[in-house]
Symmetry: C2
Subunit: 350 residues, 2 copies
């Protein structure tokens, strides 16, 4: 890769698993083109001939900071995540290896999320002090968004993970969203300290003890607080977090369907719907997961972003911009510093 492809934003390109996702290369390539126009250089990893043809559809794409890295194998959505061990030439493995070897700033994939997690964990390893990496994601909330983790990497957890995840998410919001001292809520079934499962009670005591030491612990929050935006961060186990994420998406989808039906029931409603269309479209965008582009697998020693299989070009573009910002903001060294791995001064007081 030549120096000319480096963008002014990220000093290294982002490796995009261009074959990943439900719709194949098209949204990935379009997203890469749009990100490149915004100044992010991209390595499109996948079948060279197909990607070249797809890229050729965009006028002026030859002048953009986009290069193709050939990888003919791709782990399909219905294959096993464990395949990443044997299929070293699979596109997601090529992406994480490019990061590991210092040729890319981050790996981004809209493909098989289990395979992406497995590849990142195998290739990067864990940050010292982090027992398990977590999926960090965002949900829309009153007044902005709520950052949720773990959204599904760990179905079975220990209380110690919660404290580590709270620390990781705190640094993440500091770097990516310029939040100085984000609040952390522990998801439970009552606001009172003594409410929750045995696991959550243990995690509560741990987090309470770390309050002020790089974690701004608010206390317990309930399901409703996620959308109310009571805290900036909500930590929970990967089982509950995954249920939350999929429930939230499912509810929004079904509610929008009902709104649509309501605005199609009779002439008066239909006219009303036409008049209010613009405003309601803004609302739909607000609820759309593609706004944030992708989740990050946090806690590994490398940047890996995992998107929705149904991601469109906008989601891909946003994921690439977010990955570039994470690299630019030195997210990884700052996460490592927060866990005291490196000798550099910790950005988060301990």
């Amino acid at each position: 890769m030549s120096a000319e492809t480096r963008s002014p934003i990220a000093s290294l390109p982002i490796a995009l698993d261009a074959a990943g996702g439900d719709s194949g290369a098209a949204p990935n390539v379009e997203g890469a083109v749009r990100a490149a126009r915004a100044g992010v250089s991209v390595l499109l990893v996948g079948e060279r001939v197909a990607l070249h043809a797809e890229l050729g559809k965009f006028q002026g794409s030859a002048a953009l900071p986009i290069e193709i890295v050939d990888a003919s194998d791709v782990i399909g959505m219905d294959e096993h995540a464990s395949d990443v061990r044997s299929r070293t030439g699979a596109s997601i493995n090529v992406c994480t290896r490019l990061v590991k070897e210092g040729q890319a700033a981050a790996a981004v994939s809209m493909g098989h999320s289990g395979a992406t997690m497995a590849s990142a964990l195998l290739t990067f390893g864990r940050i010292r002090g982090v027992e398990r990496p977590a999926i960090l994601t965002h949900l829309p909330a009153r007044g902005g968004m709520t950052t949720l983790l773990d959204a599904g990497a760990n179905a079975d957890v220990k209380a110690s993970y919660f404290a580590q995840w709270a620390r990781l998410a705190t640094v993440y919001l500091k770097v990516l969203e310029d939040q100085e001292n984000p609040t952390v809520g522990l998801l439970s079934i009552g606001e009172e300290d003594h409410k929750g499962s045995a696991l959550v009670l243990e995690a509560h005591a741990l987090l309470r003890g770390l309050h002020g030491q790089g974690i701004n612990f608010h206390g317990n929050v309930e399901g409703r607080d996620i959308f109310l935006g009571t805290t900036d961060i909500v930590v929970t186990d990967g089982f509950t977090g995954n249920v939350v994420l999929k429930l939230a998406e499912g509810e929004a989808k079904v509610m929008f369907g009902w709104i649509k039906d309501a605005l199609n029931s009779g002439l008066k409603s239909r006219l009303g719907g036409l008049l209010a269309r613009g405003s309601l479209r803004g609302l739909a965008e607000r609820m759309d997961p593609s706004t944030y582009g992708a989740s990050i697998l946090i806690g590994v020693k490398g940047l890996a972003f995992i998107g929705h299989g149904s991601a469109d070009a906008t989601a891909v573009k946003n994921a690439l911009l977010r990955a570039a910002r994470a690299y630019e903001g030195r997210l990884l060294p700052r996460l490592e510093a927060a866990f005291g791995e490196q000798g550099i001064s910790a950005p988060v007081a301990r």
Copy 2:
């Protein structure tokens, strides 16, 4: 209590904890009046003088099948559930005792839900074969509603509970909703049988083994399936279930706020909102928890319905009607029969 007060629907009155809930007696009394007009007899349990005054506000209430049972003590929303042990004269304890003694068909409370659960469990005991009672509730779903349990009674669970709850909910839907063979989904983080926490994998194997023996087991479902209505029943632990319930309510509330904002942004949208108002109100009703009135504490040897603290008169009325229907449909003996406690023929094949 005289025989004249018995309604044509339920042969016994329903005991209503008339002091319970965030708004005190008013919505309870109004709900009781509306239920009585619909043919359900009610025992209003609470402070006699206050209830008498409240009841007097409704024209013709003297002729309705409503009686007042005096109980001056009430367990407040901010008090401890364990208080039910010592405060035997508290309104919720009077309600459950009336049921236990055969003077009421069911207890209904919009008050302290922990206290209601504790009082019902202490007074009624458990159905033989049921290790822990669960809170069974309903959520709106595409095509109707989804029945969810446990919605919060048990934060820590064993796999065996899931199988018992699936059986209880199956009989409940048979009796209350005339569903012959409702499908049961196990909430997990992937549809495949091998996905989930260690606990869920164990529960999956148990439920799989019981398929066809009174339980129509569909397999795993995900968070999104609750609103999609993939199965009639969704079983989960009380921690996840409570998070689901409160998240669903919180998301609906925040989304309606945003819809309102969207329809107030500019003249065109405002006009559109006015035209579509009727249809959108129908949608709001669909999402409103008061439609179903109350949840049931299922698995105890008596009928106990637990409503929202914020319940309005409609929710109270619906809860009373539902309680009467449960009694009328012989829910309790049919639940006991499903667990083989009584000699009568089981309505659910085992």
